[in-house]
Assembly symmetry: C2
Homo-oligomer: 140 residues x 2
Amino acid sequence: MTLTEEIISDLRDSGYRITPQRELIIRAIAESGRHMPVEDIYAAVQEQTSAVNLATIYRTLEMLWEEGLVHRNDLHEGKLAYAVAEHGPHLHLVCRRCKRVIDVDPDILAPLQAVLREREQFEADLEHLSLFGLCIECRD
Amino acid sequence: MTLTEEIISDLRDSGYRITPQRELIIRAIAESGRHMPVEDIYAAVQEQTSAVNLATIYRTLEMLWEEGLVHRNDLHEGKLAYAVAEHGPHLHLVCRRCKRVIDVDPDILAPLQAVLREREQFEADLEHLSLFGLCIECRD
DNA sequence: GTGATTGCAAATCCTTTGCAATCTG
DNA sequence: CAGATTGCAAAGGATTTGCAATCAC
């Protein structure tokens, strides 16, 4: 079963209806293998057919996120971006001065995730996280 | 020296000009002792005088953030919020399903911060962070 | 005086919503 | 068939920008 099929199956189990639009949207995210801003998802879907409205995309993504089937990242410039849960984890360090982005091995977050799970009983999504700060060159 | 004065002094040292508007904005954040959305900062400044424009507030806050004099948090609903650096640290765990917010002792982040500093030479702002996930009641 | 900063108003951009029409199960 | 979902167009809201006037140094 492909990733797209899995997500669709999950949705059906949860009582959602599967429309061609939803399928296209899910496929676009799943096959991209990356974190996509809404804008890109819309463009990807448009390539297949022009019959999907932006509002539908927003509504579908919100639903997928609430169901835990995609990750959402709204850190960058107030824009929303989504990726399928199985998309490889990422940790970005963003320098607030030079805007440089450093990619880090996300395993670094494992201890924190464990502590939150044990101590707060909270299952944190740390797979697509951006942290702000200053890189070495921008520190005085 | 008060917190407001310190920030102003830093700005002057960096070559920025100190206008009454900037002073009011800085004072509003510093004296609030909390994380404020732009909206609240605007309201607080308006209470003193109606002579400050929203655009000026946005421009000033962006500048303060780039200078590292305030923290910025744009996680919640795409809105920007700011707080002075000395405002006590916070860590919020936000349940993406029930929207509940759990407050956690931010010391929990100290090990992560240390690792980022040593291994990536990155000084991360982890003092006002919101992490998303599922709380115990929303996990199936 | 000079360049930085502000106010104003308009423009952008992202996202949400109401409602009638259309589909899915 | 009934209720969920979509498209459309309009509204909403946050943030940004151009430019002339003003102010800090």
